[in-house]
């Protein structure tokens, strides 16, 4: 679907290829080149925004595999990010590890936390699972506050910037490259995970878990795999976040952010890697819009307008997408492409 009419697939490999035409791979190449050169032209502020979008994309990819593909709804994603963040912070600060060794450990720790809190998913689903993941978030944050010796409690802790040899990733642009490289690999991995046997099992579980089990898919194994993979992504994103700010504190992991990650997924389109990216970009840009217009509104309406605008705008965007375009931006993009595929001689079905 979405291919121009002259394209023919003659064998299975062509049909399952990620880049189906030269146009696809060409467009991707151009996009990557643009991504690589844009910090040279853009201001620090925009590079910062793009870095934050990159971190959000990594996190949303994980949530997409867990919720979009496997149907295991999680509103504790930020909690798992915090696990990764504090693991990396602890290893680099207290044990003096380098960032590059701490990052995989952070991912692993978040994944293991995901396995533990994913256990209820074997018995429950839907709303009950949401409650279990919300509980997971609050228990993780509570533990971080209580384990003062390891995490610094509510005071937080200063975290060193990543370095290679004598080069330190402390400028905005250098961290941008770091985040974008990891985000690109995360995207590549996400695209390919859902094409594997496990990925197809995830979709089967999402569509009907009982039917999937009858077909011989081990729910026990694949649900936990989904939790593990999703939380590994969260752990990487969390670790990047604290190393970017050079500081780890529980204020960076508010509960509502889990909701917004899920919102990004809704806006972008569940169960679509492209959707995860588009949704993260859309909601982050909306935030920027609010930050820009907030002070203006505050001046005219009330002092608290800026704070309330963020909540209202994000909530309304999610509501509008749910009502008008439940399959999200990815589907919208697909329909636009389908329209122009036959343009100007498109026909109504």
């Amino acid at each position: 679907m979405g291919l121009r009419s002259e394209t023919f697939h003659e064998n299975y490999a062509q049909d399952t290829a990620i880049y189906k035409t030269r146009l696809h791979s060409g467009a991707l190449f151009v996009f990557l080149v643009l991504l690589a050169v844009c910090p040279l032209f853009l201001s620090d502020r925009i590079v910062t925004i793009m870095t934050m979008i990159g971190i959000a994309i990594i996190s949303v990819h994980g949530l997409n595999i867990l919720t979009g593909y496997s149907g295991q709804i999680s509103i504790g994603h930020v909690g798992f990010m915090a696990v990764g963040a504090y693991t990396s912070a602890f290893l680099t600060v207290h044990w003096g590890w380098s960032f590059w060794a701490a990052l995989p450990c952070a991912a692993l720790a978040a994944g293991i936390a995901g396995l533990i809190f994913g256990l209820p998913s074997l018995k429950i689903k839907g709303f009950y699972l949401i409650m279990a993941t919300i509980a997971a978030h609050f228990i993780i944050i509570w533990l971080i506050i209580q384990l003062r010796d390891i995490t610094g409690g509510t005071d937080g802790m200063a975290v060193p910037k990543p370095r290679v040899g004598s080069f330190v990733f402390d400028s905005k642009a250098s961290f941008y490259y770091l985040v974008m490289t990891i985000a690109c690999f995360a995207t590549l991995l996400a695209v390919n995970i859902v094409r594997t046997r496990a990925g197809r099992a995830f979709v089967a579980i999402r569509d009907n878990d009982l039917a999937a089990e009858v077909m011989g898919i081990s729910l026990w194994s694949y649900k936990l795999q989904a939790f593990f993979i999703g939380c590994v992504y969260a752990g990487v994103a969390g670790a990047l976040l604290v190393h970017y700010f050079g500081f780890a504190s529980i204020d960076q992991f508010p509960f509502m952010d889990s909701v917004w990650y899920l919102g990004m997924l809704i806006v972008g389109g569940m169960g679509s890697t492209m959707g995860a990216i588009l949704g993260a970009i859309f909601l982050k840009l909306l935030d920027e819009l609010v930050t820009f217009f907030g002070p203006i509104l505050s001046a005219f309406i009330a002092a608290q307008a800026a704070a309330s605008m963020a909540l209202i705008a994000r909530g309304l965007v999610i509501i509008i997408f749910l009502i008008i375009e439940p399959r999200g931006l990815a589907h919208l993009w697909g329909s636009v492409k389908a329209y122009f595929k036959l343009w100007p001689f498109s026909h109504e079905e």
Partner: protein, 295 residues
């Protein structure tokens, strides 16, 4: 011993308010199969409405209650008509996300209107002091208890003896049968949202009278979820029993466990611990119906 009984008695009154809030949640769930994450925000709005009518406008308690309920009915109607009705037939996640987004929008409007400041109307509610031997029951708790019991009683009568109550119970049983009998499901949905808003707002006024109103009041919704899970998601009786149990447990936990930990705060995650334990060992709660799924 006196200390324990004191904790249990105030916990009982607190638990009745939780139960009241949880009932709103259960009614929506039973009638329209929607898990309403925004229930805590109805409580928040209730608290601020109570402040507005009682303190800003200086109205008497009963008039304030009447106006607040009026606003709640309007709110319930609006939410059902414009947010939930377009989603009938959509998957569960879409509906849950809708209520989460609603919670965010409601919180945004509360911040816009009331400025998210801490407001209190302690002492505005009438005082009723009751002492049983050495155990004294605080006035707010007693009022909360009385209002909760009255409200629960009214809703029990509504379900038992009115046409709309019958329609709601029937919808909870089987939507298709109800529709084929000519009952408008959307009317039932609207009624369930109105009731949820009303009980949320009443709960908000009561809780606001005890501890003041600020944005974290919405977290009472979380406690209501724990109540609902413990009691069984589709059981109103279960919600009441579980509400009382949780209220007492929370009070006892904060009385005995909080001094043990330096940071305290164990009572804050207590509802979540209860939730996780219930979810792992008895996912359908104490009184819930075990659903048998077929492919």
């Amino acid at each position: 011993m006196i200390f324990l009984i004191q904790l249990l008695v105030t916990g009982f009154a607190l638990g009745m308010v939780y139960a009241l809030v949880a009932i709103g949640f259960v009614i929506i769930l039973k009638c329209s199969n929607v898990f309403n994450i925004a229930q805590g925000h109805f409580v928040l709005i209730g608290g601020y409405l109570g402040y507005t009518f009682l303190v800003t406008f200086g109205l008497s308690v009963w008039v304030s209650l009447l106006f607040s309920v009026g606003v709640a009915i309007l709110l319930g109607l609006l939410i059902e008509r414009f947010a939930l009705r377009p989603l009938i037939g959509q998957p569960e996640l879409a509906v849950i996300m809708m209520t989460i987004a609603l919670a965010s929008v409601l919180e945004g409007f509360v911040t816009l209107i009331w400025g998210a400041q801490y407001k209190t109307y302690h002492g505005v509610l009438p005082t009723l002091n009751l002492n049983l031997g050495q155990i004294s029951i605080p006035s707010e708790s007693l009022i909360g208890l009385i209002v909760s019991i009255v409200a629960v009683g009214i809703f029990a009568l509504l379900f038992r003896y009115t046409k709309i109550g019958l329609a709601m119970r029937a919808t909870a049983e089987d939507l298709q049968v109800v529709q084929s009998l000519g009952i408008k499901a959307t009317t039932v949905y609207a009624a369930s949202w109105i009731i949820a808003c009303v009980v949320g707002v009443i709960g908000g006024i009561l809780l606001g009278g005890v501890s003041g109103v600020s944005i974290p009041l919405a977290e009472v919704g979380m406690k209501a979820f724990a109540v609902v899970l413990l009691g069984g998601a589709n059981s109103i009786g279960g919600a009441i029993v579980a509400g009382v149990i949780l209220g007492m447990l929370e009070n006892v936990a904060s009385g005995y466990l909080d001094p043990l930990l330096p940071g305290g705060g164990l009572s804050q995650i207590f509802p979540f611990l209860v939730m996780l334990i219930v979810l792992i060992f008895r996912p359908y709660g104490l009184f819930g119906m075990v659903r048998i799924e077929r492919v």
